[in-house]
């Protein structure tokens, strides 16, 4: 299966590159083939995962840069299998959708998307710290270039939002880069072994808590900015405004999840002491993101930003799940990553369709009344919005339930505050739907409208089918990561518990006895 693993990364990239060489005629075809093939490979790989086992199901470890101890070590395990599958799915939908607009889907653009896909997949499957960091930084660049398409006007500030996207998010990434190097070198000093960036080797040896703290700080800078978490979200409104929508769908759906994944893959296992020390900070950041994001999403008039701020809030939930250091929270975070991505993609598609029906206007106060003119669109919109606000019965609800459950076990107050966000989510999602689709016709909406075409219907049907799967059988998404997520939170979790016990707190996080047993 290692061949498939390589093909997973290489095939979309190769397809994109050949498309670049082949020109306008073949590039779309190759892009479709590449993304589809990646999806098939991801599915094959995901099937290899044994849910009861947290070790890698498919593992490839080859030398890359021996001179500085960096290896090309990639693997599929329970933690990343579902996310990898998700990534290929989202990229496939996004790429196919892009093909609708030949102006947009130039060979260069398709190759950029392919680079993005390879980088994101690389970050998910990386088992080497430098490889992870490299992919983490790299995945941003294609989207910056794509966002650059929309950088309007001349003068200094016209390219500002794109520049901000690049610089702001890379600040964090570069810090993480330094921290990664420091982590490996210091670990090597501790163990007396030659420097290696292989995660498996790093997991065993934990650093002194004081060292962990500054390293975690750098990792946090990278992850929190990329997610983004309030107040580190300053880059995203501009970026959301300039990015073409198909790319935005991918960007909003996937890139933030890599950061969330990074917490589980890197931060929690490698820096347990620091994570436990700063758990409260993370919880508070998560809560602030949830409430703040929801409130602004509820207030703003730009649909893109509603989407964006709601993502901030939802990412807050993911962070909340992670910071619970509880298996349920971690499972919830991973599953929320999946469900949120699956809902963002159709949401962006719908946003595009709505704006198309309003002459390109993207202002909520000028929209309205589209439902009457486009009943199919309206129905699909409704389904997506219901998933978006985590209606019980959807996969998104299961994810939020697990997140809140995990947090409840350690800090009920945080779960209670977070649940305000659940109500607010309903408020902004419905406000968006009502504002866009219902009530009387908005100023920008023409008298006679048309419903959506077959291509969009197909795309939305696919997305909604995916949503239906996670709604009906959430277990499909939860099962593979069961053991792996438990393993990921275990170091920090056990540390947290021992500290609590030492502190004489009798009610340790409220995990039932047998559950604590199963954590081991």
């Amino acid at each position: 299966m290692t061949g498939v693993l390589i093909a997973l990364l290489a095939v979309p990239l190769a397809a994109g590159f050949l498309g670049l060489l082949g020109g306008k005629r073949v590039a779309p075809l190759l892009a479709v083939l590449g993304t589809t093939a990646a999806m098939v490979f991801a599915l094959l790989l995901a099937l290899e995962v044994n849910p009861g086992d947290h070790t890698a199901a498919v593992d490839l470890n080859s030398t890359w840069i021996p001179s500085i101890g960096v290896s090309f070590h990639i693997a599929i395990d329970g933690l990343n299998a579902v996310l990898v599958l998700l990534t290929t799915f989202v990229f496939a939908i996004g790429t196919w959708w892009s093909l609708r607009d030949p102006e947009l889907a130039t060979p260069s653009y398709l190759f950029l998307l392919a680079i993005g896909e390879a980088a994101v997949l690389g970050a998910f499957v990386a088992q080497d710290l430098i490889l992870f960091v490299l992919c983490f930084d790299l995945m941003l660049l294609p989207f910056v270039l794509i966002a650059a398409r929309g950088a309007g006007g001349d003068g200094e500030f016209s390219i500002g939002p794109v520049l901000l996207l690049l610089v702001y998010t890379l600040v964090g990434s570069l810090l993480m880069f330094v921290a990664a190097v420091g982590l490996a070198i210091l670990t090597a000093k501790n163990t007396g072994q030659p420097v290696t960036f292989d995660l498996a080797a790093l997991y065993g040896a934990t650093l002194a808590p004081s060292t962990q703290r500054w390293i975690l700080l750098a990792f946090l800078a990278a992850f929190l900015i990329k997610m983004p978490v309030v107040p580190f979200h300053g880059w995203f409104p501009g970026a959301y405004r300039t990015m073409p929508l198909p790319a935005l769908a991918i960007f909003a759906a996937i890139l933030s999840k890599v950061a969330a994944y990074g917490f589980l893959k890197i931060a929690l296992p490698l820096l347990p002491d620091a994570v436990v020390d700063w758990r409260l900070v993370l919880v508070i950041l998560a809560l602030v993101s949830i409430i703040y994001g929801s409130l602004v999403a509820f207030t703003t008039n730009e649909p893109r930003l509603i989407l964006g701020y709601s993502s901030v809030a939802q990412l807050g939930f993911i962070l909340l799940g992670i910071s619970s250091l509880d298996p349920a929270g971690a499972q919830g975070a991973i599953f929320q990553s999946v469900t949120h991505a699956l809902v963002v993609v159709p949401a962006v598609i719908l946003l595009a369709l709505v704006s198309e029906r309003a002459g390109g206007v993207e202002r909520l106060d000028q929209l309205g009344g589209i439902a009457k003119r486009a009943p199919v669109l309206s129905a699909l919109f409704l389904v997506v919005v219901l998933c978006w606000l985590a209606m019980p019965g959807t996969g998104n609800f299961v994810a939020e339930y697990l997140v809140l459950l995990g947090q409840w076990r350690v800090a009920p107050w945080a779960a209670i505050i977070a649940s305000i966000g659940v109500v607010l989510a309903a408020a902004y999602a419905l406000r968006f739907m009502i504002g866009a689709m219902q009530n009387l016709r908005g100023a920008a909406v023409p008298e006679h409208g048309v419903d959506i075409g077959g291509f969009e219907r197909g795309l939305l049907a696919l997305s909604i089918a995916a949503l239906a799967v996670v709604a009906l059988v959430p277990q499909l998404g939860l099962r593979p990561s069961d053991a792996a997520s438990r393993n990921a939170v275990y170091p920090a979790r056990s540390l947290y518990e021992s500290q609590k016990k030492a502190g004489g707190d009798e009610a340790v996080a409220g995990v039932p006895a047998e559950d604590q047993e199963s954590t081991r």
């Binding site: 901000l164 309030v230 107040p231 979200h233 300053g234 880059w235 409104p237 501009g238 703040y292 409130l295 602004v296 509820f298 207030t299 509880d326 298996p327 349920a328 971690a330 499972q331 009344g369 439902a371 009943p375 209606m391 019980p392 019965g393 609800f397 299961v398 339930y401 697990l402 809140l404 459950l405 995990g406 409840w408 076990r409 009920p412 779960a415 209670i416 649940s419 659940v422 109500v423 408020a427 419905l430 406000r431 009502i434 689709m437 219902q438 009530n439 009387l440 959430p474 277990q475 939860l478 099962r479 069961d482 997520s485 438990r486 409220g510 995990v511 039932p512 047998e514 559950d515 199963s518």
Partner: protein, 671 residues
């Protein structure tokens, strides 16, 4: 894997889902009444399957009448074990029967009532979806599935309240209902965590089995968990202070009001408390909270109903009030009575709404009872149905409401202690109930014909230019607004059949459970409540039962008498009373200012915060603080460096030389 009962239950559940999805997918193909016919057929099938389930369950021995039917793992991870499972026991079966039965009739009614609406297909798709959701709620075998059903009914309710989505008032009412219900959902979610924490399971049967042991050491957690769950129950069942959405929910089409906001969904809270009764019996505090809130609601709602002039809202308040009785009943341990009242209430309240719908149809959409009058002759069938419904509601023997309500109050009397006071309040509210129901009857059906109703008496329907009844905004008849034609039961057989059936049930259903005579409901429910001690305590003795029935009859008659005096005999006399009690009237007609209070305490601060964040904080975050702060230094430095770049060779040479000199100096001095 599943027994016959289980399979049947799954089929009951899936039939309406099939209906909803197929109508949804075929909405362009289905024309005329096809969608209505399909939906109704599906529902009658579902009802038939429910009856089959009942039969199958009854054929089991009594001790094994609690059947779980699993499909597949839903979410089994990290200490959570949720399977897609149904729990079929007498309680869920009775709920299933009520839901599918009443729904079938309302579907039938709606096939005619909604026929001129442009959103006909959509309506039936939603309606079927609602029934599916409600069945998930009552059949779900664990707390998580309950929450799923709970959320889904809220969603369906939202969809149907804002069915006429181009009306701003409708979408507003919808979002309000939805948000309050989500708030309740959150309560149940958080409550479930507390139960899960100690019992380690969300499965009902396991939970009940482990509850006593698990919570012995943590009584407070149990109480808190149940109080949180009660939040959900109160939100769904429109109990104080989460009731404000229900009157607004009358924005929805009348069949919706009949089905969701009277017969089925709003009673979910009662079902929930009954379902979790083994837990409530372990926590006095939680049960007391239920009793107190139920009592407050039943009085409040009854008083508000007296001053309402909107026909549907009067019935809506009466619904709140009646659910208050049920909540009191199940919280106090009178489970049989509560569920029995739930059932009879479903019949007569659905009937009342249907009749109201017929009246509104004749009035061309007008709901204001001040504009009605003398319709007794013009709408005889409707009048008869409305009268039967009102008599049942008022609790006059031998109508169904009499027996069920009095079983509740009798149970409370029997339990004694402070419950006696609750019972007294209950009787007082019963008086008010009779009073406002007959106020509506007198104002709508009695009195003189006015200009408008005269036309109805002449055999015409009223027609008005399409407009929103609450705001007067002009509308059209397109999709998203109510249809052009309105319908009355007099002209439409399906409506007549549905109302007739319910009227019959409203009259006779009480006979199922006459104190010390018949025990059909109680016996049937016994397997569910067999372990309950409270149930026995609330089993009214003969004397109490007789006392209760006497008091009940008296209250009802008194109420009707007052109404007759005020609105039939001396129609103008209320103005004087109103003038004397001006402040009270203002308080009541403003619904105790609960809406305003919620707006002030919750809605406005959030809106304000959102506006401040968006307008000010965001700019700070995106521009000034983070970016500008750091780049400002850089920009200044950049300006300095570029200013130094004068372009003059001589200055450059001077800089080079002085730098060299500095290095030289360093070398000579520092070394």
């Amino acid at each position: 894997m599943t027994s016959t009962v289980g399979t049947l239950a799954w089929l009951v559940l899936l039939a309406p889902l099939f209906g909803a999805i197929s109508i949804g997918l075929l909405f362009k193909q289905l024309s005329g009444r096809a969608a209505g016919a399909l939906a109704t057929t599906v529902l009658f099938t579902s009802f038939a399957l429910s009856v089959a389930t009942l039969v199958a369950l009854q054929s089991e021995p009594e001790e094994s009448r609690q059947v779980t039917a699993n499909l597949w793992d839903y979410a089994v991870t990290a200490g959570l074990d949720v399977k897609l499972s149904l729990l079929v026991d007498p309680l869920s079966v009775i709920m299933m029967l009520v839901v599918t039965g009443v729904s079938s009739l309302i579907h039938l009614y709606a096939t005619a009532y909604m026929v001129s609406d442009e959103g006909y297909n959509r309506f039936f798709s939603y309606l079927n979806l609602f029934v599916f959701s409600m069945l998930v709620l009552v059949l779900g075998g664990n707390l998580v599935l309950l929450i799923v059903g709970w959320g889904l009914v809220g969603m369906a309710s939202y969809l149907l309240i804002s069915f006429w989505y181009r009306r701003k008032t409708a979408t507003k009412a919808g979002i309000k209902a939805f948000l309050i219900n989500v708030f309740g959902d959150v309560g149940i979610v958080l409550g479930s965590f507390l139960l899960l924490r100690h019992a380690g399971t969300v499965d009902y049967l396991e939970l009940f089995a482990k509850a006593e042991g698990a919570f012995a050491a943590h009584p407070h957690d149990l109480t808190w968990g149940l109080v949180l769950i009660l939040l959900g129950a109160f939100a769904k069942s429109a109990q104080f202070p989460l009731h404000t959405w229900l009157p607004d929910a009358m924005e929805g089409p009348t069949p919706v009001s009949a089905l969701i906001h009277a017969a089925t969904m709003v009673t979910a809270g009662v079902y929930l408390i009954a379902r979790l009764h083994p837990l409530f019996e372990l926590s006095d505090v939680a049960a007391t909270v239920g009793v107190v809130i139920g009592t407050i609601t039943l009085v409040m709602a009854a008083t508000m109903a007296i001053v309402q002039t909107d026909l549907k809202r009067i019935i809506a308040y009466s619904t709140m009030s009646q659910i208050g009785y049920m909540v009191v009943a199940v919280s106090a341990g009178a489970y049989t009575a509560g569920i029995f009242h739930l059932m009879t209430h479903a019949f007569f309240k659905a009937l009342l709404f249907m009749a109201a719908g017929s009246v509104i149809g004749a009035m061309g959409g007008v709901q204001d009872i001040d504009r009605m009058g003398g319709l007794r002759k013009a709408l005889p069938f409707t009048f008869a149905c409305f009268m039967i419904g009102s008599l049942a509601l008022a609790g006059l023997p031998p109508f169904s409401g009499f027996f069920s309500k009095d079983e509740i109050l009798g149970g409370l009397l029997e339990r004694g202690d402070w419950y006696t006071i609750i019972a007294a309040i209950g009787y007082l509210a019963a008086l008010l109930t009779a009073c406002y129901s007959f106020r509506a009857i007198y104002k709508v059906f009695y009195g003189d014909l006015n200009e408008e109703t005269q036309q109805i008496a002449d055999g015409h329907h009223l027609h008005f230019a399409p407009a929103n009844p609450s705001t007067g905004e002009a509308e059209d008849y397109e999709v998203g607004f109510p249809g052009k034609e309105h319908h009355t039961a007099e002209e439409n057989l399906p409506m007549k059949v549905a109302m007739g059936t319910l009227a019959f049930l409203a009259v006779v259903a009480g006979l199922l459970q006459i104190p010390h005579v018949t025990h059909v409901v109680g016996d049937f429910l016994h397997p569910t409540f067999h372990a309950s001690e409270l149930l026995e305590q609330t089993e009214a003795s003969t004397s109490t039962a007789l006392l209760g029935m006497g008091l009940g009859t008296l209250a009802a008659l008194l109420g009707i008498g007052i109404a007759t005096q005020l609105w039939l005999k001396k129609p103008g006399s209320t103005a004087g009373i109103q003038a004397k009690l001006q402040s009270l009237h203002t308080l009541l007609s403003n619904k105790y200012y609960v809406d305003e209070a919620i707006d002030l305490i919750i809605v406005r601060p959030f809106r304000w915060a959102g506006a401040v964040f968006e307008r000010h904080t965001e700019r700070l975050v995106t521009q000034t603080a983070v970016v500008g702060g750091s780049s400002g230094v850089v920009r200044i430095a950049s300006a300095l460096v570029r200013a130094a770049q004068t372009g003059s060779v001589r200055i450059y040479a001077a800089v080079v030389s002085s730098s060299t000199a500095a290095i030289l100096l360093y070398a000579l001095v520092v070394r």
